[in-house]
Symmetry: C2
Subunit: 387 residues, 2 copies
């Protein structure tokens, strides 16, 4: 090899902001390979650092202006060499979107992986929770996450769906599995539940511990418009999602994977916008879905339980017999959704509609949704789904 | 649904730079959903546009300073509303990395998907080639691309590998397949060959046309250091890659997928740095690999064919009998690699080492590597591999 020059190895030198003196803390696991910042301190403060010698002002801004990182923007301080730094927190454990405002422009941090949220590829920082490891990649058998392409007649597109197949799926070729359709939130994509949510590791760990039924998890994109319609940006453009699920996606999944294709073995859940979609598509198609999960996704205001959703709740006894699991959860610090979610829960309770209500500390963020999936996955597809 | 409010749907309004009057051309297919820029004109000029009212100067810079977009940076012009625009080209067809320099800071374009290259998540623009559709998602059966996690004893990490399984893999459970190990270039990752290279669609199309053997394609990360070693940034940190392949990856793949595990049905190829790795790992382990592909990845300078690679070429007859396919390709406009590649080809030719040499117009970029894979995949795993 000495005399053969493989020039590819010297094609570039990356500028990842690595420094000779290693400061306190650890690089975030959400960083790109070799990047020392963002850096998590033992007390859960986070230090951000970039090089931008020609910029006049640089700030860190949490996704949405405020999230588990706190309320931003946070000003970064300039060093003489053009390095800018800011330390924030202590912050909340979990995954948090952020950007750098470089002279006001929302730029990604070159040191961070990107995560599709807020309608764009965004930076994100993973802050560990010393008390929780249910979403970590532990040394247990791992399922594959398959990127699967299929033709949607509804949208006229080749669409991409992420499909988790549980450990053992390829070895035990006679076995069929229940299927959970699991949706992301507004501004996110079919990649969110694995990249931000770690759904695959959550399932791997639960299955290894015997706490969840081995299941297939189908993660599609919640945005879909019919052929010829103009796809809107951001929060719009999801009008045809239900039709895609019923007409295109379920047949494709049942054809491509070893599913149990009866309604009892098919569930739909989602977070935020996806929770609303799970409720609409699920309750609207109870011949297809037996179980429904709504994670920080629905609020009832002046809800008339008798007439809502085409009267599906009108006969509580019939509903309870038909739906083994209606699961509704929300973080108590979720200012947008909590109050309305609680109203919905109470209205259903009063009407005798059996459901699981889960509330606990937490914002409108992925840490809550990881916990929701962790709870939901332990209830669904079990004949004795607990109240 | 009327009385039930799903707040998730109104959680945000995205700013994707969409405009009311639609100008000439089409949004690039590499854009995020709903983004109108970058925009490809019929003559292959490309218009970039962003909003950055507080910036003093904004430029578009091609990855590496110059690529198929031309030699940058390209100044963007400010409109009174703080929108900045630049039209460049006509440019080369294919995929090109780029960033926006916002007051000198290399920011991603919020309108672009991100593609891991140059050691970070980068913006990229896909410029169509009217004459080529071999890498498009055509209406043919699609294989899955599986994200697979496994434990590497060499690195002490849980590593992630992308595995293409061909159409029909799940249906025809008695069939076993040859395996191509396919590596990305410096600063890229295991995601590159599918996201930038479209390897899965190239294979889908070839298999549908009966032009390539249905095969499994394994795409790992070319960076690996041994347990306890410090992982370098950028172009360093790949010291243990060969050991990972031989000790960890091949056993994992042969255990997890229905492979044909003899050497005749295992090949290794790569681009740029990955081409050098394919040559080193392949020639160094001819008991494991029968076929090797080097895409813009190797140059011979003062090459002593008799002694190079531990003398593997010393006996041309024996080598030719043992290696059904040694494939070497390079673009003629690749200033970094072409001359050296040609020297290597000529030295091998002179020594009687049978190989395929493929040169044609092209830079050191993904459009060339797509073509290389397209050619290579038609030769490999065929007993009559052409000269």
């Amino acid at each position: 090899m000495k005399k053969l020059i493989c020039l590819g190895t010297i094609l570039f030198a990356a500028c990842l902001g690595a420094s000779a003196q290693v400061p306190e803390g650890q690089p975030a696991t959400s960083n790109v390979r070799g990047a020392e910042y963002p850096r998590i301190h033992p007390d859960l403060r986070v230090t951000f650092q970039i090089k931008a010698p020609s910029a006049q002002k640089v700030e860190v801004t949490p996704g949405g202006g405020a999230n588990g990182l706190g309320k931003g923007p946070f000003e970064m301080q300039r060093s003489p060499d053009g390095t800018w730094s800011a330390t924030v927190g202590p912050v909340q454990p979990g995954f948090h979107y952020y950007w750098l405002l470089v002279d006001g422009f929302p730029a990604n941090d070159p040191s961070s992986e990107t995560y599709f949220g807020w309608g764009r590829q965004s930076s994100g920082v993973e802050v560990p929770d010393a008390a929780l490891d249910f979403y970590d990649a532990r040394e247990v058998p791992h399922g594959d996450v398959r990127i699967h392409w299929y033709r949607s007649g509804t949208t006229g597109q080749t669409r991409r769906v992420y499909v988790y197949t549980p450990p053992g799926y390829d070895a035990d070729t006679g076995r069929r599995y229940p299927v959970l359709y699991l949706q992301h939130g507004a501004g996110e994509s079919e990649r969110g539940w694995t990249a931000q949510g770690r759904a695959n590791f959550i399932l791997d760990n639960l299955i290894a511990a015997g706490k969840a039924e081995p299941m297939i998890v189908v993660m599609e994109n919640g945005y879909a418009v019919k052929t010829g319609a103009v796809s809107g940006a951001g929060g719009r453009g999801n009008e045809a999602f239900g039709e895609v699920v019923i007409k295109d996606l379920i047949p494709e999944i049942d054809k491509s994977y070893r599913t149990r294709s009866d309604r009892e073995h098919r569930a739909i859940a989602g977070l935020s916008m996806g929770g609303g979609q799970a409720l609409m598509v699920g309750l609207g198609n109870l011949d297809k879905f037996a179980s429904i999960g709504v994670f920080s996704g629905a609020g009832g205001r002046n809800l008339d339980v008798k007439t809502a959703f085409n009267g599906v709740f009108a006969d509580a006894g019939a509903f309870n017999k038909r739906v083994p699991l209606l699961w509704i959860g929300c973080g108590t610090e979720d200012n947008l959704i909590y109050a309305g979610s609680r109203v919905l829960h109470e209205a259903l309770e009063k009407a005798g509609i059996r459901h699981v209500w889960s509330e606990g500390p937490g914002l409108h963020d992925w840490q809550v949704w990881r916990k929701h999936l962790h709870e939901f996955a332990q209830c669904v597809f079990k004949s004795n789904a607990k109240r």
